[in-house]
Symmetry: C2
Subunit: 584 residues, 2 copies
């Protein structure tokens, strides 16, 4: 036994106890005749005291040699602290040390092991094991565990069964790029790592498992945008004999449970909006509804005046930034510069100040009079004191730009509060989206999503208008989960593959097993998957997922701590029946 208590356990009830503690030296203060050491472990910090008077000389001298992050074990007596620290669980006591063992020495860490560290991202990743000692990372990992446990308990209590699906599966060109694994025993053949357990969970429904879930790693070999990881974790779920409503209810229940248990937040019924409404109202299928600034379309009231920019635009649309009528010219220019950045790409921005006295002042005063601008204010729901920001151009692009601006303004106004949670459902997604590049339709969700029965008549004539029984759960501007009711009929599934440009042979080669399974009595089924990394980060009040992943990869897909990927032996390649094909 290296310790009788951990470093967060002792308090004034323990005074006079003989205890043994072990941990890391957080810091030490040497006053010459007295040395205090903060001893840290996962559970807290306990103050140790070595005192020229009361401590054995050899122990006292050894204490003088302690450096930051040394691993030590001490025996001693719990005593009352003279100057108590009410902010610490152990702040009323300290340990008068009688025995000190240095279990391991430590080099000076390359960055400070403090909540606010001086270490940059790169060095923290290289020494991730030191980074994990810091509270913000450590607590994120503990929090992640708690979320996962709550998910498992909640779903298990509802009779969901966690089933492990295989990681070595089959590569399918549809969707994102697969990571593949050469097979030694099957020459010239490859496994793929799953992008999701989609087909397996559907087969489990065909197999009668009824309610499935799994917290599972998934893999996508994509160029990594910021805050994406090549391996990521899903809470993957599927249910049989359900309609969309059943699924929304179950997973709304799960999310409400998590918010309540982990954040103490009560959320009433989640609002639902259609995809079309979300796109029109927020320019976005994952709107952040912690704040207003809904889109007001201004075509009817801003076109057919003398302002050519608007007249030639497909869409003129604005938002009312609350309380921003007082913005200075400089502040407004900053916003204009922001929307003109290539990442956003607007060509300009029109603004209207809604003065407190009910008048309006705009950047286009020479084209519009007060009554025109009043109509803009009505359309954007602007109140006195608000600043209307207007963009125009191609409808889709303009909505995307205004959506970005809306988020930016909200950030600047502090409206994106990490401790406020506004979940919602977005429903009625289109089944297909047109891809200009390949000149064909792609599945918006995936090829197993069922069209809405009432839209089936459009499927040959106007496939782009067919809506799907597909839904996303959105939290604070992030898609945290999405799913659909699946096709469970072989004929419809074949038709879908053909719509997506598969030949019957391709469909058979890649998904024959699934369509075959549908012939043996597939029940109606559907499900969804949550992105656990993102969910945990948002619940934890953070914008980025990296601190919620123990050992993340960088934007080149590298683990800089272990230095992977790396070269492998020629013999290994040979056994796997492959050769390198390196560009000169």
């Amino acid at each position: 036994m290296y310790r009788s208590h951990n470093c967060g356990a002792l308090n004034s009830a323990d005074i006079n106890k003989e205890v043994t503690l072990a941990g890391w030296v957080q810091k030490s203060r040497d006053k010459g005749f007295m040395i205090w050491v903060d001893l840290r472990d996962r559970y807290g910090i306990t103050q140790l005291i070595f005192d020229e008077q009361r401590t054995d000389k050899a122990v006292f001298d050894k204490a003088k040699s302690l450096g930051r992050e040394f691993v030590i074990q001490v025996k001693g007596t719990v005593i009352e602290r003279e100057s108590k620290n009410p902010n610490m669980a152990t702040g009323d006591i300290e340990i008068l040390v009688s025995e000190l063992n240095i279990l391991n020495e430590a080099l000076l860490p390359p960055f400070t092991i403090e909540d606010e560290t001086d270490g940059g991202e790169d060095i923290r990743m290289k020494y991730r094991y030191l980074d994990i000692r810091r509270n913000p990372v450590k607590n994120s990992l503990l929090f992640r565990h708690k979320v996962a446990m709550e998910v498992r308990k909640y779903l298990s209590d509802l009779d969901f069964c966690e089933v492990e699906t295989p990681y070595l599966i089959k590569s399918t060109p549809e969707g994102a790029r697969d990571f593949v694994v050469p097979s030694r025993m099957n020459e010239g053949q490859f496994y793929a790592l799953p992008q999701s357990p989609q087909t397996f969970k559907q087969l489990l429904m065909v197999g009668g498992m009824d309610k499935y879930f799994q917290i599972v790693k998934c893999f996508r070999d994509e160029d990594l945008r910021a805050d994406r990881q090549p391996e990521f974790t899903q809470i993957d779920c599927e249910m049989a004999f359900v309609e969309q409503e059943d699924i929304l209810n179950v997973f709304e229940g799960l999310t409400r449970h998590l918010l309540k248990e982990l954040k103490g937040v009560d959320v009433a019924q989640f609002p639902r909006m259609t995809y079309d409404y979300a796109m029109k109202t927020y320019g976005n299928d994952k709107p952040d509804i912690r704040f207003e600034m809904k889109f007001g379309e201004l075509n009817a009231v801003a076109q057919h005046k003398d302002f050519g920019v608007f007249n030639s635009a497909e869409l003129v649309v604005g938002i009312a930034a609350p309380g921003c009528a007082s913005y200075t010219r400089k502040e407004i220019d900053a916003l204009i510069d922001w929307v003109k950045r290539p990442q956003v790409g607007a060509s300009g921005m029109v603004y209207v100040k809604c003065e407190e006295d009910g008048t309006f002042k705009s950047s286009v005063d020479k084209f519009y009079d007060q009554s025109d601008l009043k109509k803009w204010a009505e359309a954007t729901n602007a109140k006195a004191g608000d600043l209307i920001l207007v963009l125009s151009g191609n409808a889709h692009k303009t909505r995307t730009q205004l959506s970005a601006l809306r988020m930016e303004v909200a950030t600047r106004l502090g409206l994106r509060k990490p401790d406020e949670f506004a979940p919602l459902w977005v429903v009625d997604f289109p089944l297909l989206e047109w891809d200009e590049e390949s000149g064909r339709y792609h599945a918006m969700h995936h090829p197993f999503t069922s069209p809405k029965p009432e839209d089936m008549s459009l499927i040959e004539t106007e496939p782009g208008k067919v809506r799907a029984n597909a839904y996303d759960m959105v939290l604070n501007g992030n898609e945290i989960g999405g799913g659909s009711i699946r096709i469970h009929d072989k004929a419809l599934q074949s038709r879908m593959f053909s719509l997506l440009g598969f030949t019957p042979e391709q469909a058979e080669a890649q998904f024959g097993f699934l369509m075959n399974a549908f012939q043996f009595g597939a029940p109606p089924h559907g499900g969804l998957a949550f992105g656990l990394d993102r969910l945990v980060a948002i619940l934890g009040g953070q914008e980025t997922i990296r601190d919620f992943i123990a050992f993340p990869k960088n934007n080149s897909g590298r683990d800089v701590m272990i230095d992977a990927p790396s070269a492998i032996d020629e013999a290994q390649l040979q056994e796997l029946h492959i050769k390198l094909n390196i560009s000169e």
Copy 2:
């Protein structure tokens, strides 16, 4: 809502209720004027009745068309059954159906969906989704989920934190063969899939996580012996500031909890035996101690007589098969044939019948008299009525052969009872084992295992005699878990790598990150890993793991259901900077 109840829910308390059920047609009995259908889902079977008198004609006719495994939905009234079935939860009632919807038709399944099926292994694997509908498989998967949940709850309650470690890591030639994943973004480089999260969990200890666990997939590209899978699941655990005793206590507690919760079995303190004792007493480091038949070494009492075979043998050793003195010549010959099979490889077997009257009758009566044989009986702990079976030869080989014979006899005698559980710890494993082929020492557990401090003095002179702080948990003749106290000191770890034949450069290239981490304050730590597949199978009373894995692979590492692995596109290879290297 497809259903108001599941097919296992209704009983006599529900009589007269209007209900909606959905599920699969298990079977239907058509008596002409009356049709009974067994409707099945995951939760049970409910009997439906269609009756010429009481059922609408259209519904009645539709019921006649139902085939096995059709997916249907029915509405009807719960009524009391005329001939009740006390063996079924729903056996008191049936549903008088008023409405019948066929949700999906089904082809005739290629094997019967019954507890005892007519389907062979191959066809069951190809149609695994149908196999999963069968109770033995379905219940195994549900049981696996229960075990995993209990493990998670137990360890979480002890402050263990489940941390997900990465799947895309670095290939290391030490140990078994890695599965590798070519990196598209890092030309010519490869990730490896983890054989275990060993180094990561140690880094988590360096990072202060203190108590870690993870239920995690691991991968080994080995030629598949029976009942091995290329991907398998571990309960992986690690603790900081612990000695071996702490770890044994925690995981003995976990296992006791599982036996109690899942099997209702109370197990007292687990016996412990050393590796040396186990090898001498059972010929095996994973003894099945549900029964006796301990080895009795007979060199002292059987050599130096006139029996040349024994005189020239390094070891003469026997076991007493309980109650087998009555074996016929034919039964004994069958055992002799069994030990002579090439899989066992003994050259012969000597036997001694311990007659009820206290006399002995042996196959070597011309060399040994009654007083000699009495000594054999004492050494093997044979009682009147037992049959002593004796093998001889090279010590190691003979022990292995006798161990196999011991298990075979136990099987024939029905002593390997699946509902009896006899766990134990085997401790004090050797640190190293000599490998004839490579002419060097290999780590018996893995290169991170710490030698016993008291044996450190032997490390340069007699490394083969150094014992490790390594332990296995054994249950019913299977190693279900194993682990060790780890090295946490850079110098000792370097020395270990050098003992194992690594050059300093190789050690640095492969494990530099770990040794580097040890310099920044590594705590003493250790852990273990359970094989979940095997653990669940044994708890479930089964010998093979396959039915406890939803989608297992066959002995060539293939998933015959989805037909993986498979060829991939030339374009995919190109992107990954590899070419095929196929033998002509």
